[in-house]
Symmetry: C2
Subunit: 242 residues, 2 copies
């Protein structure tokens, strides 16, 4: 019995889908039991049964729920992937170390001029050439994050080929004379994803994306890599240990 706003530009069925996803995530609808029936849900949300059905259909499509005629609707999967974030964050290792089968996909690479922000982060002149490498991280066959990586070309020319060959930024950096590195800082924001990212992450329009921008520095404290990672917010949680 709660109100959904019709004039927000977000359809009722999508607001209800979001609410159900939350209720599953926080355990209000346990994974073992069936969800309340469509009529019960409709009265709970104060909408028609068909509207609830649209919401459920979207969540079935998404893989969160499974509906069986005559029996009920059940939670198909519930847990979020857990990503440690800290001084020694390496996404490929985070994926590999987890309970799921992780995989890195090399998307593209190229040369870009450094904008103000990246120039400052990497301590180069604005306009200096940067190597850009785009990677996609998969877990259990689902895309989890897309990452853009930028390196100063002056120092890391040819790194794209090594990343492509090894599938790992850590390995490529080691081959280029950077035995170890760590995070200097990370900035987190959340918002609606851009269409390019939504396509890559196989998300619907309006889906939420968690963005982490970070700088890695070598043992001497010199900036090595600027990385912007976009996570499918529904599929992950970021964990900081202090």
């Amino acid at each position: 019995m709660q109100e959904m706003d019709r004039r927000s530009g977000v359809a009722m069925w999508r607001q209800i889908a979001d609410e159900i996803r939350r209720l599953v995530a926080n355990g209000t609808f346990p994974a073992a039991n069936a969800l309340p029936g469509e009529i019960a849900l409709a009265s709970r949300f104060g909408v028609n049964r068909h509207t609830v059905r649209s919401a459920i259909a979207a969540l079935v499509q998404e893989g969160l729920l499974r509906a069986e005629r005559g029996r009920g609707t059940f939670v198909e999967k519930s847990d979020r992937l857990r990503f440690p974030i800290g001084r020694r964050t390496r996404f490929s290792e985070a994926l590999a170390g987890g309970p799921v089968s992780g995989q890195t996909r090399y998307l593209a690479a190229g040369i870009e001029a450094a904008d103000e922000r990246k120039a400052q982060a990497l301590d180069v002149d604005p306009g200096a050439p940067l190597v850009r490498i785009d990677l996609l991280y998969m877990a259990d066959g689902l895309p989890v994050s897309v990452a853009g990586n930028w390196f100063a070309q002056e120092r890391f020319d040819g790194i794209a080929g090594k990343v492509r060959a090894s599938g790992s930024v850590t390995v490529a950096l080691r081959e280029m004379g950077v035995p170890d590195y760590h995070r200097a800082w990370t900035v987190l924001t959340a918002g609606h994803g851009e269409n390019v990212d939504l396509d890559l992450l196989q998300l619907a329009a309006g889906a939420i994306v968690l963005t982490a921008e970070a700088v890695n520095v070598d043992e001497a404290g010199r900036p090595i890599q600027f990385v912007r990672t976009r996570f499918a917010a529904d599929r992950v949680e970021l964990r900081l240990e202090s």
Copy 2:
């Protein structure tokens, strides 16, 4: 010239409003200049001019843009508040230390039984009584985050009154014999906000909320406080220094 999905449950005008908000946030539309004209924007997004007008109207309502007849559309405010997150995170201090005038508002308090999650976090038995304190953080007159704070009643009975009087959890804890504390861990997620939180944060339905759940421990490493903070994602960025 990009595609917007009509079957996503999110109206085109809202998708475009989200896109414009992003472009303002990352500096593509600088705060000084006027935005491109409505016709230019319409062709850029591949939609009709009327649809762009709806998007701009929503952003004007929201306070992000200002439209002047005959002159153009301008950015009214753009920067996000920056929140440091780390071992010594204290939200009230983060607000007070910044360039903006911060303020803590005491919302409510009460006693709750510990659920599984909070019991584990605070190292008490499930069902044990917890003191709950709800706080609202404002900056420049706008709500930025709502925080639920939980303390074991056995050790911190009466803390609500001290928080209410001082407006600070740090001060209240000091008065109760905890001279210092720090973060043990923080878990970050993002999603669509619940209606209760959206109301408090003065956000429209479907708006995005960044959630940080964390545990603070005392100098001996004993858990003191479980805190869940919900940020209006459009208004903040979380920054981790390593």
